[in-house]
């Protein structure tokens, strides 16, 4: 009996130790990097983070802006395109024939230049990855999948129970996964339902109007307007925004209407609207009502009084 207790204590302790040592270590790897990136560049879109640490894809919550990703496919053609553009650029008076040789000489640096601006620029991800050097990428991916599910499902008691199981049974891994997956599956639908019904009630609540007014007031101060544009280019712009509890942008904002930036002056109306919404963050809104303002659909309408 006593011996059993001792063994049990030792085993429990060692399991706890293992859990403490191994679990946070594995878990925080991606999360740490993401956090650090977000700290360094608060406005960084998840897509950008993804591009820099693609191996952490599963750890990144990406409410996506499809346009951003689409740009990636544009990279190759753009690189080629810059050179021809520059030649006509040469101020012609003196530069008619001469400019041709110089651009050729410069062509190597040129291409580098082109690569950088786009989100998927390669030098960038390399830099950010540095801290990770020790582990080769394939190893990381496996632990990640487990981590992601683990922390959510488990509490300390689970660990203990689990360990007893482990002692008894050698097929630990197999056992681990089923119990872990189960809880999140249940959790999510429950949350969803709750959210939906709450939201329905929220619309009845008086503070929806005050939240709208608060947002409107804040965005208006950041919005410089487009009164200089011709009337027909002063288009309405609809933007979807997701906010964190602290009022910061969760991700890049998403253009809803028009779906993409129009060519010509109307594109300026979109630029100005997007800039207003991005620049105004973090928003000051009552944290108690977070579920009501987590996702916001903003329409900026310049021509309405």
């Amino acid at each position: 009996m006593l011996r059993g207790l001792t063994v049990s204590t030792i085993v429990h302790a060692s399991v706890l130790a293992m859990a403490v040592l191994s679990w946070p270590h594995q878990k925080s790897d991606c999360d740490k990097m993401i956090e650090r990136l977000q700290k360094e560049e608060p406005g960084l879109a998840p897509v950008d983070i993804l591009m820099r640490i693609p191996q952490c894809a599963s750890a990144i919550d990406v409410p996506i802006d499809f346009v951003e990703i689409g740009l990636v496919t544009d990279i190759a053609p753009i690189q080629k395109a810059e050179e021809p553009e520059e030649e006509p650029e040469a101020v012609p008076e003196e530069a008619e024939e001469a400019p041709k040789p110089p651009p050729q000489e410069e062509s190597a640096p040129e291409e580098e230049e082109v690569v950088i601006p786009d989100e998927a620029a390669e030098p960038e991800p390399e830099k950010k990855i540095e801290p990770k050097k020790e582990e080769p990428p394939p190893k990381k991916e496996e632990p990640k999948l487990i981590e992601k599910q683990k922390p959510k499902a488990k509490d300390d008691l689970d660990f203990l129970n689990e360990f007893e199981d482990i002692l008894k049974d050698k097929a630990q891994d197999e056992r681990r996964t089923p119990p872990e997956q189960a809880p999140p599956k249940i959790d999510k639908p429950v949350l969803r339902d709750a959210q939906e019904s709450r939201k329905g009630a929220g619309e009845q609540r008086g503070n929806t109007a005050s939240l709208q007014a608060a947002m409107r007031r804040q965005i208006y101060t950041c919005w410089r307007g487009v009164s200089d544009l011709p009337k027909e280019d002063q288009i309405d712009v609809e933007i979807r925004v997701s906010l964190n509890r602290d009022g910061t942008l969760k991700s890049n904002v998403e253009l809803v209407r028009p779906r993409s930036r129009p060519v010509g002056r109307a594109g300026i109306a979109v630029d100005v609207a997007l800039r207003a919404v991005r620049k105004c963050a973090p928003y000051q809104l009552p944290e108690d009502d977070y579920d009501e303002w987590e996702d916001i659909n903003v329409t900026i309408s310049p021509t309405q009084p």
């Binding site: 406005g43 990406v62 000489e105 601006p117 959210q195 208006y220 630029d271 309408s301």
Partner: protein
């Protein structure tokens, strides 16, 4: 390829996970004209790849000054910049630029090329979006020229930035001709002069032996038309900037004055006066054939053609006082906005006298000089006579002309009795009134088209 896959996977997963939250959105409608403020821009010094760092600094200073002169941008103080290790090859640290609340960041590099030329490359970054701002679809630009032409590189960079941020056509890389005035009132020397749009590179084009007035730039060639007193009576001449050659335009009896090119540059409109009556003519520069536009006992003058060439706006006192009228270039009757049909329709009905109308390059507005109650104003009015707006007011404001993009008006001002004339500009909003510095007193400014 892997990236593409990632994109696909992400697109799918987010499409699914986001479906439910879409209905939970708080809807916010922001309406109104907005809260105009100049857009904050950071334009740090260029990265210098070579030895001539003075030139690199001067280029940036001209870019900043051009943009600031629009009143639409506010240049951030370089002392406030946090990131010092900028390079055109590396994405900037946006967080550093958000702290100083700059909307746009321009990063550039200056190079001295082996053949003695200079090159400036630059990129624009949208700080809040965290992405490059494409210029004509390109993520950056590079311009080359000889070192003595450096100001044009600066103007072209400023033009690119201005166009990208406002959607307006460029106008910094242009010139302005004007009349440089020197000497005492009774023995005034009036010479034709030219300068860059920012007042740099001022030079005289005529020696001043004959008084020259009302120069107008050709929209298509390096030519100016003006009125000169050469030979004792005022007549309209054509002047080639490159050759310095002057040529009498037409062989009219009496005087010719108030010339202005048609928008295609192929004709010159002018006023011809004989026996105390003046009427409008148009002369084709190729054929040198002229055609009479108006035949009226009143004084008709200051013709300016619409960009489509179909209409002409001019000043006439046929209604009793100088007012603006619009007619068809072919002389056919038109339906007047004020009702009825006439060969010429009056478009100004408010109090005051209107003169020197100039049709905007965009076609929708006419700029004018207005005189009312001992004051002068520069204003604009719709071509149908609606929406009159006065942009300036002074003891004497006169002689407006449009920037080639139709956003800015240049004119001359005498701020009080006896004060010499100065050149000024104002933007269409009327917010941004500025003096253009000239070495001498100056009048009758006219804007060139964008340089090629």
């Amino acid at each position: 390829m892997t990236r593409l896959l990632f994109a696909l996977v992400l697109a799918l997963t987010t499409a699914v996970s986001f479906a439910p939250s879409a209905s939970a959105e708080l809807k916010v409608l922001v309406e109104g004209p907005g809260n105009f403020k100049p857009t904050p821009l950071a334009i740090p010094d260029l990265e210098v790849r070579g030895t001539n760092s003075d030139l690199a600094r001067q280029i940036v200073e001209v870019v900043r000054a051009d943009l600031e002169s629009t009143g639409l941008f506010e240049m951030q103080n370089p002392a406030s910049f946090i990131q010092k290790d900028l390079s055109i090859d590396v994405q900037p640290r946006f967080a550093d630029w958000k702290i100083i609340k700059t909307d746009g960041l321009v990063v550039g590099a200056f190079e001295e090329l082996p053949d003695g030329k200079i090159a400036v490359s630059f990129r624009m970054w949208d700080v809040y979006a965290g992405e490059v701002m494409r210029i004509n679809g390109q993520p950056g630009r590079r311009l080359t020229t000889t070192p003595d032409n450096w100001r044009r590189i600066a103007h072209k960079i400023a033009d690119s930035i201005y166009t990208r941020l406002t959607g307006e056509d460029p106008y910094f890389d242009t010139r302005i001709v004007y009349i440089a005035e020197t000497g005492p009132k009774l023995n005034r020397v009036k010479r034709l002069a030219i300068m860059d749009s920012d007042g740099a590179n001022q030079q005289y084009l005529t020696p001043g032996t004959n008084t020259v007035l009302t120069p107008r730039f050709s929209p298509s060639a390096q030519e100016i038309t003006y009125m000169s007193y050469e030979g004792g009576r005022p007549r309209v001449y054509l002047f080639n900037i490159e050759t310095g050659r002057q040529e009498l335009l037409g062989n009219f009896p009496g005087m010719t004055f108030a010339p202005r090119f048609s928008r295609d540059g192929e004709s010159v409109l002018m006023t011809q006066a004989e026996h105390g009556n003046s009427d409008l003519y148009i002369m084709n520069l190729q054929t040198r054939q002229s055609r009479r536009l108006t035949d009226h006992p009143a004084i008709d003058t200051s013709p300016s053609m619409s960009p489509d060439g179909r209409s002409v706006v001019f000043t006439s006192d046929r209604g009793g006082s100088p007012q603006l009228y619009v007619m068809n270039t072919d002389g056919s009757p038109r339906t007047c906005p004020s009702g009825g049909r006439d060969v010429a329709c009056r478009i100004t009905f408010n109090k005051g006298q209107y003169s020197t109308p100039v049709w905007s390059p965009r076609g929708d507005l006419v700029a004018f000089t207005k005189q009312l109650g001992g004051k002068f104003y520069i204003g604009v009015i719709g071509t149908d006579g609606t929406g009159e707006r006065l942009l300036t007011e002074a003891y004497l404001d006169e002689g407006p002309d449009w920037s080639p993009n139709g956003r800015v008006i240049v004119y001359f001002r005498e701020s009080r009795p006896g004060a010499g004339p100065q050149l000024w500009s104002v933007d269409l909003s009327g917010r941004n009134e500025r003096r253009l510095q000239t070495q001498t007193e100056a009048s009758d400014p006219a804007w060139s088209p964008l340089l090629q």
